[in-house]
Structure formats: C-alpha cells, structure tokens
Symmetry: C2
Subunit: 275 residues, 2 copies
C-alpha cells in the first residue's frame, strides 16, 4: 500500500527560505482557467503563516486580494508578523512571482489575524438550513472543464449552474454538500480553500455566462482546531448568496457548516463581472 | 459667517511626506474609550489612498485590521500601490506610531482595492427593509459616554442598546437611521466610517455588557461617487446582525442604504469579546 501525497498537500508544499519567505509552485491539480484556483492561493498563503516559526494562535480572519493571475511555475510567499499581542497576531502577506524580465511582481496581497481561542459564552444566530442529507443529494460531475473542480466532491442542494443561459435567473442562492476528493481531514487551509468553491453568483442570478473573477475574499474562522478535528473528512454544507450587483462588481456572502450543524466559517467576497 | 472645518475633515487631515507616507494626528472629536473610534481610523487610512498621487479609480473594497489602539497624538499612514492593473489597483496600508522608546510600531494594517466602475447590468438582492422614515424615528442621545457618538445623528428603528444587562437578549439585529452631526455630504471616507457605528452585537444578543472590540473590518463599496453625490447629506439606513458567537469572537454583517433604497455598502467584521 502506498501513501501518495494528497493533491491539496502537494499544492501547499512550501520551502522556507530567508526569514518570512517561503518558496512554492503551482500544481496542475488545482488549475483554473488562467491560473490556480483562488481558493488554493488563499490556502497556500495561509499555510505560510501556519508554517511560520513565530506563529501565535490559530487563524481568525483572512483577507486575500487577487491582484493578478498567478502564472504556472514557482512563486514566493512572504508572510510577516507585523504586530504580536498577548492573544492576537497580525500578519501581512504577499505572493510574488518573477515576470518575463525577471522582476518580482506582487500577484496577491493578504492580511491574516491569528488568535488564541478561549472558552466563553457562545451562540449561533445563523443555524444550518434544513436540507436533505448528503447521501440524498446526488453527486454531480464538475460543472465545467477546469481541473480544480475534480478536487471536490459536490452534492448540490439548490442553485446549480444554469443549463440554459437565457436571462431567466431570479435568485443568487446556492447550497451544496462538499468535501475534498479524495477525502481529507479538514484543517484551516482546506476550510479557507472551500470558502471559494462557488461559481460566480452573476451566472446564477442572470442565467447568463459572463466573464467574472474574485477580486477580494475574506474568511472568518469560527472553528478552532478541536472542532475541525471533530469534523474530520465529513461533508460541509456550503451556502452562498449575493447582495448587490452593480457597475461591474457583486458581493457574495457564504457560510460553511459541518454536518453536525456547527458554523465553521463565514466568508465574503467582491467579484468582478463584465457587461 | 465663518466656515469652520467639519470635525470629520479635521480628523482626516493628512500631510504628505516622503512618497507613500502621510502624517496625521488623532483628534478629540472622534475619541473612543482607549483610542480613536475604529471608523475614523478606517476612514483616515482610506483617505491616504484617496490622496495618493498614483490613485486609479474609486474604492471598491477595504479591509482594516486593528492590531493595537492608536494612542493620542501623531501617526504616520503608509499607503503603497503594490499592483496597478488596467481597471483595478491594489494597496497595502499601515498606520504606525512611535512607542515610548521612539520605535515606530504598526497599530493598524489594511488592504484597499480601488477600481474603475463601468456601466453594466445590475440588480439588488438585498432590498432595504420596510421601516418608518427618519422623521418618524426619534433621535436618541449618545448611547454611552464616548465622544465620537456625538459626531453622529442616530435614529434607532430596532435593536437599541439594552437598558437592563440581565441576560435576556434574543436577537442581534440593529437598524437605525444615521447621518453625520453636523450634517456633511457623504463621501467614501465617511461611508467607510459609518460601517463601524454599531455597538458590539454581543451586548445586544446577551443583554450583557462585556469588553469587546473590533479586530478586523471589511467594507465593500457598491456606490460610486455619482451615487454618493446623489445621497448628499441625507440619512442612511444602517443594519447589522451577527452570525456566530464562539470562543471569544463574533462576526457582524452590515448593510447601509440611502433613503432612496440604494445599497451603498456592505460590511463585515470580526469582533473580540471577553467571557
């Protein structure tokens, strides 16, 4: 029996270099149309923080700004802890890649906050919606031909990709059961990546296929490592909807619960669309 | 007749220094408990981007991470355009202040995306809730004794500050009509500041007064300058609710509409709370 590296771990492989710097490279397994899947870029730069020797605590918030497509090949993640407090730590992160002239260019910027979690009062105001169990929802093949979609098992509940691009859309809500394919125990990097799995809300709301791409995504982690461990390789219910489409940009709000109904992460993004 | 500087413009006054650097100082008008109101810090660092000679386009997204309280006195905003594309520009921003030993320390980190807006298809999926008009909602005095609350006219619709801290809370929803006091024509910086006006959701949800403070806030601007100009000094309907309270942190989602019902901004934050 061989234990092959999971494609997700392969994509997240980083070599530490000079302080605050890590070398990585794109992998075919998470390729999108003109660069890596945005979720894998978010996961990779979070991984640099998690690998950093000065790390304090666990991820609390993550904002990733996609300044340019990452090209196939090597890149450098620079993760700098710019302020460390007693229970929170603030990080500035960039992904850089050499351009044709050999000049290092920023492709991605990010900020990360890590924090020590404590036992406190708590409550959820966003209960998991009542939906059929994963086994009752049919697993669908990748919605369109991009390699990274093969890295997720998706069982849509509602809001599947339109089959007719006829401007008949009336909702921006998608719900689906989701896990890594092949299965893999959930961790912070995987959860961050999963926050970006939704196809562009504009395609659903308009029932029209227009160019679109995430400009900035924010993830708030509500789960600590203990809850992630409990979740293991189980399904997550992932839900997304938009609030406003205007002047070439729309926003998306998303929630990801584990099957037991715990809200693991909430996420938001602002997305470019054409026309 | 004298034309005194509006306290908001006074707070946002910045002196350009060496490239990418701006000098500012805290003002008493927006003082919170142990530092300036978070909204004024967000507005100030956005203002540095807006004042930058290389600025392209208008604000699209803003993420501000409050790493430490800003102390009374001078500070430096460093705003760097790290990537400029044809229609978007990506900024990394810090606020720095000298500590007792004279060392420059980062108090605040931020990323900003500015973008050129274009005429496109659009629709709102988050209509303004049906609420009484501002004139029908009573203007309330500041909820508690901090100076910055005097800089806003607030007319609560629902979700006012509890009057009894008796653990009787059951909702995290607040809606209020809002404008600057004295009145001031809305601009991007003022809109950013207004996204942070809500008192901590944990106080409402628990009906319990516990220490709390914003760790990170993100604002998505759906309005361009033309829509802001139309809004002028009119009231905004501001709405906020939480999704999850757990292990010392909760998130908040907010929407701000103008009186005509246009969604100007959506915003999210993750907030520390004790106990």
């Amino acid at each position: 029996m061989t234990h092959a590296t999971h494609p997700f771990d392969d994509a997240l492989a980083l070599d530490p270099g000079v302080p605050d710097h890590f070398s990585g490279r794109t992998t075919p397994g998470y390729w999108n149309m003109v660069g890596p899947y945005g979720g894998i870029t978010a996961a990779t730069l979070l991984q640099a923080v998690l690998r950093h020797p000065l790390l304090l605590g666990e991820p609390l918030s993550l904002t990733v700004n996609y300044a340019a497509a990452v090209a196939e090949g090597p890149f450098t993640v620079q993760a700098t802890p710019v302020r460390t407090n007693r229970s929170t730590q603030h990080w500035m992160v960039t992904v850089q890649q050499a351009n044709a002239g050999g000049e290092q260019m920023v492709t991605t910027t990010a900020t990360v906050v890590t924090a020590a979690r404590r036992e406190t009062w708590g409550v959820s105001d966003q209960p998991m919606p009542a939906v059929p169990a994963p086994a009752q929802c049919q697993r669908t093949p990748p919605m369109f031909r991009v390699e990274w979609l093969n890295r997720y098992e998706m069982r849509p509940v509602t809001g599947e990709l339109p089959t007719q691009w006829d401007d008949s859309g009336h909702t921006s809500l998608t719900q689906l059961w989701l896990r890594d394919a092949p299965e893999r125990a959930l961790d912070f990097a995987a959860l961050a990546a999963m926050c970006d799995v939704f196809y562009p809300r504009v395609w659903l709301r308009r029932a029209r296929h227009v160019p679109a791409g995430t400009v900035s995504i924010t993830v708030y982690f509500h789960a600590g490592s203990a809850l992630l461990a409990q979740t293991g390789d189980g399904y997550l219910l992932a839900q997304a909807r938009a609030q406003e489409f205007r002047n070439g940009f729309f926003d998306q709000s998303a929630q990801l619960w584990n099957q037991a109904g715990s809200l693991l992460a909430t996420s938001h993004q602002i997305v470019y669309y054409k026309e």
